[in-house]
Structures are given as structure tokens and as C-alpha cells.
């Protein structure tokens, strides 16, 4: 369902910055700078408190929250799933959880939209819809809907840029039937022309609407600046490319990807011995897996400069400052993650404090390096500001980025960034489903099973000099692209005032296929 919620958040969830403590300079402000080491200040402040306790609030100096005891955390050993590697290379994870009477499962299949051809961009999106809606040889999709919904059960398929997936869940009592139906869908799909057509209509609707939403435009076009217009990571389905996808393409895609190293995950209220036997029986008979050849993409990053997209029906500019990031195997990731927290991670971050709290230029501001598992992510800082403050807000954000190299990191910044990341670290694995999902992800990308533990240990070791070094190595303001989506005539002063040269306009006109119009003839823009 669309979100018509009338609620407002204090911070936008989608870009939800994560933050850290800000306790800077309390003592300095009280007693004045240059009077001695920090410890002495603290002692002085406490002494003062005793003398003037009737006049001064204890809260000012004693920091009452720091006096609250923090006992040791209750012992916690997250339950790891059982890992079973079949002879054919397929990996199974079983995660028992008897709290509620449900069983869910999934099959993760390597290969996603980055592996489709440009001429048929959108194939994986269509496949992942039509696969499920068409149904299996033994039962068509509509009948499957009726059966599953009557049991409050689900079987769904989805597609991503590097994988597709089949997932299911049901009450325990229905799980045998639902599992066998899911296996039918996996091994004997029936791609139907009618359901492919339905998926194409849905996709066409998304295509003709893709320029309605400012945020969607900004996210999509800035990604194209980073990876390139025709990149497998950013190319977009067009009416012509989805029109070119046939039923045979769906079947061919299915046959090709199903030969890959599948990862099966089951969680819930099951008997482990019986479940292992059942899953083995379903997958053991498959031939040895044949992984897709590794990709050899090139990533050169954006052409630096200023880019603009005019949108006449908005009163707020969406500014994206982007560059090429790194992938998670990069040894600098722990230091970059801490730097992210300091730059734009949360409430105490430099961007949040300077752009939102002190200058009130934005509600949504934040950003940093994104880390992907098998290719470089992007660096992204965004700020949404009223048309007239576009230049001010952009300059303010750019200044904080440049400041990573010129404004020295402080011990306080380092401490709160690390506290923030490390003290909330257990929310990576506080449920059994999260533990399972993490293990599947690590397996998929070929990371060691103890990745989170070693990552945590490395985060703990990040130092000030380490931060300075990664800032020097990775922060190059001259290599960034700045994209503004906004209402041109309202932006005063104009973007020229950024002194980045004339903005280059990006044409986002939606291409119309030659020949007969798309179903119904979409409205222009």
C-alpha cells in the first residue's frame, strides 16, 4: 500500500542519519580555554559544583547521565544457523526458532539486472514478477494466490541487481504443502504470456511516472553520474527495452541462473533432522553448480562539475554531491565508516549540526561512503533545501566535505563516532532472522563467516591518524559531481554563484518507442 501516513518524523527514515555523542568543549566554555589539561578542567568544574551547589544546576557540570551506572550487558551468544554444503555446491542454512509457529525459507539465486543486456533492460524486473504470477506447472499463479491467501501463507519472487530470490512463509501446520509448492515454482515454472503482459504494464507505469517524484529523479540521475549512463548498475528499463522481452527470455534466464550456486535458508519452528532431510532431498539431486563468470566492470567515477535538472512543480531543491566509493573488501572501510559517522552519520555529525541545527537550511541532510560487497559503492552527500537557499546549502555541504581534509578530527569526534557504531552493533544480530540473513549475505559474496566480529574489532582500532589518512586518500572535492534538481526560476542566487561553471542540463525526457504507441499512449514529460 502507498503510504498516505499523516505522521511526520523528526528525521526522515529513508535517509535516516545515524549519529553520535556531542560533548565538545563544555569545560572550555565554562572556564575559558588554555587553562590546563582537560582533566584539570573537569576537577575544577566538580570542585566549583560543591561550592556553588545552591546556585548552579548540577546538570551543567556533573553530567548526571554519566553518573548512571551501566552494568555489564547480559551474556549473549547469537544462535548461528547450521550450515550444510551439498556435494553439488549448493549451501543450506537452517535456523531454528521456536518462539512462534511459523516456518519461512528462501532460495537466493546469483545473477541480477546487472547481468541482463542493455537492449532488454528490465528483463529481471519482469522475470521476478511474472515468475510468481504465472505460477508452476502443477498450479497456475491465480490458483496459487487463492490457496496461499486462504492459509495466510506467502510465496514470492523478487529481483535485485546481482540476484533473484524465491521466498515463502507459512504457519507451521501448512509448511509441508507450502514448501512443496515453492519447489514446484522453483523447478517447474510456467511463464505465461498473459502475466508477462501484466508485468510489462506495471513496469510501463513506473517508467512513465519516474519523473514525477523529485527524490526519485535525484537518486537515479546522480547514480548515473557516478557509474555512467550505460552502466549495468544504473541503466534503466525503457518502454522499448521492456517491449523487447519475450517469454523465451524469461525461461532462458531462469534456466541459466538456476545452474548457479544457490543458497537456501530456512528459519522457524521446525524439527532440524526432518527439515535437513527434506531440503537435502529437494536439492541434492541437482547437477554440480556452474557459477557465472566473474564480472569485469570498470568504474571511473563521475565527470566532475555541476549538473542541473529543472522541475517546475517543486519549491525545494534536491542537491546530490556524488563520487565513486569503495567496496567492503577495502581495508580502509573501518576508518571510512567512522569518518562517515563524523561527516554525516547522525545527530552529532558535522553535516547535521552545521547545515540543519545551526543554519536551519535543511530537514534532510547527510551522507558518506556507501560500501557494497563486490563492486565500488558511491560517495554521496545530499541536502534538500528551499529554492532560494540552494547555493548556500550546497556550499555549506561542500565545505564540510572539504573540511574532512582541513578541519582536524578531534578525540571527541572519534570517540562518539566509535561509541555510536559499537554500542549499537548488536542490532546487527539481535534476532535469529537477522543472524541468518547476515550469514546468507556473507556466503553469497564469499566473505568469511566471522566477518562481523573482525569488522567490529577493526572499528575499535580506528585512530585519529587513521582518519586523517583515509580523508587524504579518499576525499577529493575536485573529483565530485554536484547535481541539483529544482525549480530553476526560483533558485536565486542562481547556480552560477557556486563558481563551478555553467551547470550542464541533464535531459530526462522519457524516450517513446518508434512505431505504434505504448499501451494507451502515456502522457508526455
Amino acid at each position: 500500500m502507498r503510504n498516505f501516513n499523516q505522521s511526520q518524523d523528526w528525521v526522515p527514515q529513508a535517509r535516516g542519519p545515524r549519529g553520535q555523542v556531542l560533548v565538545r568543549g563544555v569545560e572550555v566554555r565554562i572556564l575559558g580555554p588554555g587553562k590546563g589539561p582537560l582533566i584539570a578542567f573537569r576537577l575544577a568544574a566538580v570542585a566549583l559544583l560543591f561550592i556553588l551547589s545552591g546556585l548552579l544546576s548540577a546538570a551543567q557540570h556533573a553530567k548526571p547521565w554519566e553518573q548512571i551506572p551501566i552494568p555489564p550487558l547480559h551474556a549473549f551468544h547469537p544462535q548461528q544457523p547450521k550450515r550444510i554444503e551439498l556435494k553439488n555446491g549448493i549451501v543450506i542454512f537452517l535456523q531454528e526458532d521456536h518462539e512462534l509457529p511459523f516456518i519461512s525459507g528462501s532460495v537466493l539465486i546469483p545473477g541480477g539486472s546487472r547481468d541482463e543486456t542493455t537492449a532488454k533492460a528490465g528483463l529481471v524486473g519482469l522475470y521476478s514478477q511474472a515468475w510468481r504470477t504465472s505460477g508452476a506447472a502443477t498450479m497456475d499463479g491465480d490458483a496459487m494466490d487463492d490457496l496461499l491467501e486462504s492459509k495466510a501463507a506467502h510465496i514470492e519472487t523478487e529481483g535485485d541487481d546481482d540476484s533473484t530470490a524465491l521466498s515463502w512463509d507459512s504457519l507451521k501446520g501448512d509448511s509441508d504443502q507450502v514448501f512443496s509448492l515453492a519447489m514446484d515454482l522453483l523447478f517447474h515454472p510456467r511463464f505465461s504470456a498473459e502475466k508477462l503482459q501484466l508485468a510489462k504494464q506495471q513496469e510501463a507505469t513506473a517508467i512513465v511516472r519516474r519523473n514525477d517524484d523529485e527524490d526519485e529523479i535525484a537518486g537515479r540521475e546522480s547514480a548515473k553520474l557516478v557509474y555512467g549512463v550505460g552502466s549495468p548498475y544504473t541503466r534503466q528499463p525503457e518502454l522499448a527495452t521492456i517491449g523487447a522481452v519475450s517469454l523465451a527470455d524469461l525461461q532462458a534466464w531462469h534456466d541459466r541462473t538456476l545452474k548457479g550456486p544457490l543458497i537456501v535458508g530456512i528459519s522457524g519452528d521446525f524439527d532440524p533432522v526432518a527439515m535437513e532431510a527434506k531440503v537435502r532431498a529437494a536439492f541434492e539431486g541437482l547437477p554440480p553448480v556452474t557459477p557465472e563468470p566473474p564480472r569485469h566492470d570498470t568504474f571511473s567515477g563521475p565527470t566532475p562539475g555541476l549538473y542541473f535538472i529543472d522541475k517546475e512543480d517543486v519549491n525545494q531543491s534536491n542537491v546530490q554531491i556524488v563520487g565513486l566509493g569503495v567496496d567492503r573488501r577495502n581495508p580502509d572501510v573501518p576508518a571510512l565508516a567512522v569518518m562517515n559517522e563524523i561527516l554525516g552519520g547522525g545527530f552529532g555529525s558535522r553535516l547535521f549540526v552545521e547545515v540543519r541545527t545551526k543554519r536551519a537550511l535543511a530537514y534532510a541532510v547527510g551522507g558518506g561512503f556507501g560500501f557494497t560487497y563486490d563492486h565500488p559503492g558511491s560517495f554521496r552527500v545530499e541536502v534538500l533545501t528551499k529554492s532560494v537557499s540552494t547555493v548556500d546549502a550546497t556550499n555549506a555541504a561542500l565545505a564540510e566535505i572539504a573540511g574532512l581534509n582541513t578541519k582536524p578530527f578531534t578525540e571527541d569526534e572519534l570517540k562518539r563516532a566509535k561509541d555510536d557504531i559499537l554500542n549499537s552493533f548488536l542490532f546487527h544480530y539481535d534476532t535469529r532472522d537477522k543472524v541468518l540473513a547476515e550469514r546468507e549475505k556473507l556466503e553469497f559474496y564469499g566473505y568469511p563467516a566471522d566477518y562481523l566480529e573482525t569488522y567490529r574489532a577493526k572499528l575499535e582500532k580506528v585512530t585519529l591518524s587513521g582518519l586523517t589518512a583515509v580523508a587524504k586518500k579518499y576525499i577529493h572535492p575536485g573529483q565530485l559531481a554536484v547535481l541539483v534538481v529544482g525549480n530553476g526560476p526560483e533558485i536565486k542566487p542562481g547556480l552560477d554563484a557556486l563558481n563551478m561553471g555553467s551547470p550542464q542540463s541533464i535531459d530526462i525526457t522519457i524516450p517513446r518507442p518508434a512505431g505504434p504507441p505504448a499501451p494507451g499512449g502515456a502522457a508526455e514529460k
Partner: protein, 515 residues
């Protein structure tokens, strides 16, 4: 972001869960098990604490539920409840400033300077621009002076450094909710922080935060086609009740809310009797209650605010809104329905489910699959709130080349079927089965459970209603659905809103957006 609409579905589903006699007994899902794990304590100041033990991991989640939202904003001050919610992140007299005593004096000067500026600014005749500029300058100087004492975002930063996860708040029309999750060894720290902001709020950095909220409005409403449409839709559907008023606030009103008004809202609505706090996770009520009681007793008592007198009068004429612009077409319509207290509340949920839930739903099968005119079509209720009489709404997203008029006609045909023929036994049973399962699924999530417990405790006076109301859900009949459909889905009770797409050339230049 949680969607209030789905929250309401969840409420009804909960009922159905335990009604099912055939349900096999499991550990975590029945009322008896919850009664063993839940402790409720009403403090002398009226504040209700609900603790639910669920020690799956050494963490807890909480929801502070204030029974006041933007529906309570006084006339001329739309957006006030939300504005105060932002203030609640700015710290308190105990945290967030180097010297609160001095800051307090400085903040009073800011308020006086703002009053002087506003008085001149709002003069209907004879405004002196030179004087206005001087007053603005004085205001900015006073603001800068007060900021000297501020430690920016110290409250939220301390929370996050101590592991606060998914920290946020939501202001709806009916209520305001604050929430986060944390490692369990920070429970006392949390209790100190949360009680501090409830009890000792201060108008710190108020006027800058007001500008931040204006940016939030531009993002959610002004610069978003559906945001603009929904605001107009609700403003048209209601003539008297505050559900029709922009919930984030009309620009002229939000931009002139004062710190004094925000603090008055706090004083009136943030009293013990108007607050319920639910904590779910690895917490032991036996050992923790005395500690919690100590901190939350700091919240002022005071009487519960008076109930609202305005009742939306019966609609007697159909109304419609048409927005002509370049964005793609869209259609929504709504019918007035009673509040959640109505005995038919569960019947509305059943209608929403049968019409909208999944690929078997009537609207999907008809508009999306069979007629192939829409990409999405659903009906939902209550909207935009639940506490007062609200709307049952339907919307549809046309496929390329199809129009809002076709959506309207197709939706009306499906509504007509509800009025003239019974739903099938299978449909009704499907609703009850799914309700049961969906509810159970929700019980495994600390934060979701905290929200539900606080909400039910507030709305019904007892969290057990979460389970007990299943009776009503289970009693929904086919006749009920027909009766309610015939009562509510009538032309004179309808308001519709649509976007009609215009090509670029025909779009008249607007005068600076929605400002």
C-alpha cells in the same frame, strides 16, 4: 516509517488470533502468556508504564505514546504538536546546554524579540519596514546570544553513543510517539533521558527548528504530487473537524508558531494522565519498576486535557478536487465513517481486507488483472486518523493511457457489488485467517509490540483489549458488510480528488510553488 493505516489493520487482526478455537497452543501467543510477562503500573502522576518481558536478546525497545497530536493544535497554530515533537529532541534543562540558568534568561529575550518583530510584521496597516528590519536584527542578535549556551544535539548524541537504534518520533493527527531500541544495560540511562525530556523540556533553538520543519513541509507536501493532492483531499472532505487541516501545518501558521505556544502545548498535553510508555525486551519488571517509577514520577501530574467538542457534521453533497498539472494521473476518494469506538469498527477492517489485501483482493483482480486499467488499486480505513470519525478511502493508479474517471467508475462498480451481494464465505474466512496469522507475526518484534501495547492501553484503557477485541472481529458477518457498505458508501458522503495530466505547454506558471 510506520503506516498508521496498517497499524489499525493489525489491531483488528490481533482480535481474530485468539478467537480461533482450533489454534494450537504455543509459548508466546496467548493472553495468558502475556499476562504473565506484562506488568502495568500507573504512577501517582497518572503516567502508565507497561513492561513486557521478551528476553530474546539483551536489548529493549520502547514507545512513549502521548495522547495528543496535530488534531489538538489550536486554531491558527496548525503543526504545533509536530513542532513540539521536534523540540523534544533539543535536550532539557538538564542536558544540552553549558549553563541552563543563563540560557533561560537568554531564551526569554529571544521570545520578547520575536514578539516585537511579529507585532510589527502582522500590522495590517502602517507597517514600518525600517523598524521591521531593526526588530529582525534584534531578534537575530538575541537568538545568537542564546545559542552561545547550546551544545548542539547533545540529547540525541548521548542516546546514540549509548547504542540507541532506530531513534525517532512520529507526530500523527491523533497522537505523538517517541521510540528507539537500546542495549538492556542502558535502561536506567534511557529512563533518565526520556523522563527528562517529558518533564523538563525547554524551547531551545526553537526558531531555527521551525525553519527545519518548513523544509520538512516542502519535502513531504509542497514538492510531492501525492502530498499536495492528499492535503487538498482532506481539506475538502472535512468542513469542521481538524482532520481536514494540514497536519504538518499551513505554511503561514507553522512559520509563525512561537516557542511560547509550543511550551503551552507541552504543559497542557504532556501530563502524566495523557502518557503511556511501553517497554518490551530483556527487562525484568520486578527489579526495574522501582527505578522507572523514580524517574517517571518527575513528569507533572495535572488533569487530562478536555475532550474535543467538534464533531464533523454529516456530509450532504458530493465534493471533488481536480488538480491539473504535468504529473501522471491519480485518483482517490473517501467516505466518512465513524471512529474506532464504533461497534462496526471490525466490519470496516473486513471490508478493507477483502477489497485490498493481496492479489486475491477484489480491487486487484478487477482493476489490475481483469480490466487491466490500473497498476495498483486499494481501499483502506480509517484515514487520516482513528480517534475521531474519519474516512474510508479508495485509490487507484492508472496504467498509461487510462484516466482517473475510469478508476472512479471501476471502483464504484466494486463498491456496488459489496452493497448488492454478500461476500463469499471463503472471502470472510480468508480475512479472519490472515488476520490471525498477521497478528502473530507481529508479536516477534519488540518495537512493534511496544507500539501496540502503548496504543491499546491508551485507546481502550487496557492493553488486554488487544486480545479481547477479537470477539468483535470474529463476529463480523456477511450481512454486516452489506449493511455497512450501504450505510457509508453513498454518493452524498463522497469526496474525490484526482490529478489530471496536462502537457507542459498548457501548464500555467505558478506563483512560486505552494508558498
Amino acid at each position: 516509517m510506520r503506516n498508521r493505516v496498517s497499524t489499525r489493520f493489525c489491531m483488528a487482526f490481533l482480535g481474530a488470533v485468539l478467537a480461533a478455537a482450533a489454534w494450537s497452543a504455543t509459548q508466546a501467543q496467548d493472553l495468558k502468556s502475556f499476562e504473565q510477562r506484562i506488568t502495568v503500573k500507573v504512577l501517582p502522576n497518572g503516567l502508565t508504564l507497561i513492561l513486557c518481558r521478551r528476553p530474546e536478546a539483551p536489548v529493549f525497545s520502547y514507545t512513549t505514546f502521548i495522547d495528543a497530536g496535530d488534531v489538538n493544535d489550536p486554531s491558527g497554530e496548525s503543526g504545533l504538536a509536530h513542532m513540539f515533537e521536534h523540540l523534544a529532541f533539543k535536550g532539557t534543562s538538564q542536558i544540552g546546554a553549558t549553563d541552563y540558568a543563563a540560557e533561560k534568561v537568554a531564551l526569554e529575550k529571544v521570545e520578547a524579540a520575536n514578539d516585537a518583530y511579529e507585532a510589527e510584521y502582522l500590522k495590517p496597516v502602517g507597517r514600518d519596514e525600517q523598524k521591521l528590519a531593526a526588530l529582525k536584527k534584534a531578534f537575530l542578535a538575541a537568538q545568537a546570544d542564546a545559542e552561545k549556551y547550546v551544545i548542539p544535539n547533545q540529547f540525541t548524541a548521548v542516546a546514540q553513543a549509548n547504542g540507541a537504534h532506530d531513534l525517532n518520533a512520529e507526530t500523527g493527527l491523533d497522537d505523538t510517539q517517541y521510540f528507539w531500541s537500546m542495549p538492556e544495560n542502558r535502561l536506567e540511562l534511557w529512563a533518565w533521558m526520556e523522563s527528562s525530556r517529558l518533564a523538563y523540556a525547554v524551547p531551545r533553538e526553537f526558531y531555527k527548528e521551525r525553519d527545519v520543519v518548513m523544509e520538512e513541509r516542502r519535502m513531504r507536501t509542497d514538492s510531492d504530487p501525492i502530498g499536495r493532492l492528499i492535503e487538498q483531499f482532506l481539506a475538502t472532505a472535512y468542513v469542521a473537524h481538524n482532520y481536514g487541516r494540514s497536519s504538518i501545518g499551513w505554511p503561514s501558521e507553522v512559520s509563525q508558531i512561537t516557542a511560547t505556544e509550543a511550551m503551552a502545548f507541552h504543559k497542557k498535553y504532556y501530563v502524566g494522565g495523557n502518557i503511556a510508555i511501553a517497554i518490551v525486551g530483556d527487562v525484568d519488571p520486578r527489579t526495574e519498576l522501582p527505578m522507572l517509577e523514580k524517574y517517571f514520577s518527575r513528569v507533572p501530574g495535572g488533569p487530562r486535557p478536555e475532550e474535543m467538542t467538534t464533531v464533523e457534521p454529516k456530509q450532504f453533497a458530493e465534493k471533488s478536487v481536480v488538480i491539473r498539472e504535468q504529473t501522471q494521473p491519480f485518483y482517490i476518494e473517501g467516505y466518512h465513517r465513524p471512529s474506532f469506538r464504533d461497534p462496526d469498527d471490525a466490519v470496516y477492517d473486513a471490508i478493507g481486507d477483502i477489497m485490498s489485501n493481496g492479489r486475491v483482493s477484489r480491487l486487484y483482480r478487477s482493476l489490475v488483472e481483469q480490466q487491466q486499467i490500473a497498476a495498483e488499486a486499494e481501499g483502506f480505513s480509517p484515514f487520516p486518523g482513528e480517534k475521531y470519525p474519519s474516512l474510508f478511502a479508495f485509490y487507484a493508479v492508472p496504467l498509461p493511457g487510462h484516466t482517473p474517471a475510469e478508476m472512479r467508475e471501476a471502483i464504484h462498480k466494486e463498491i456496488e457489488k459489496l452493497k448488492t451481494a454478500d461476500v463469499t464465505d471463503a472471502e470472510l474466512q480468508m480475512y479472519k485467517t490472515r488476520a490471525r496469522a498477521d497478528l502473530l507475526r507481529g508479536l516477534a518484534d519488540d518495537q512493534g509490540l511496544a507500539n501496540s501495547l502503548a496504543e491499546y492501553q491508551t485507546r481502550y484503557g487496557d492493553w488486554r483489549e488487544l486480545f479481547l477485541q477479537l470477539d468483535r472481529v470474529d463476529k463480523v458477518t456477511k450481512a454486516d458488510i452489506r449493511r455497512v457498505a450501504n450505510k457509508v458508501f453513498v454518493d452524498s458522503n463522497r469526496t474525490s480528488a484526482e490529478i489530471d495530466t496536462e502537457p507542459p505547454a498548457a501548464t500555467a506558471k505558478k506563483d512560486g510553488g505552494a508558498q
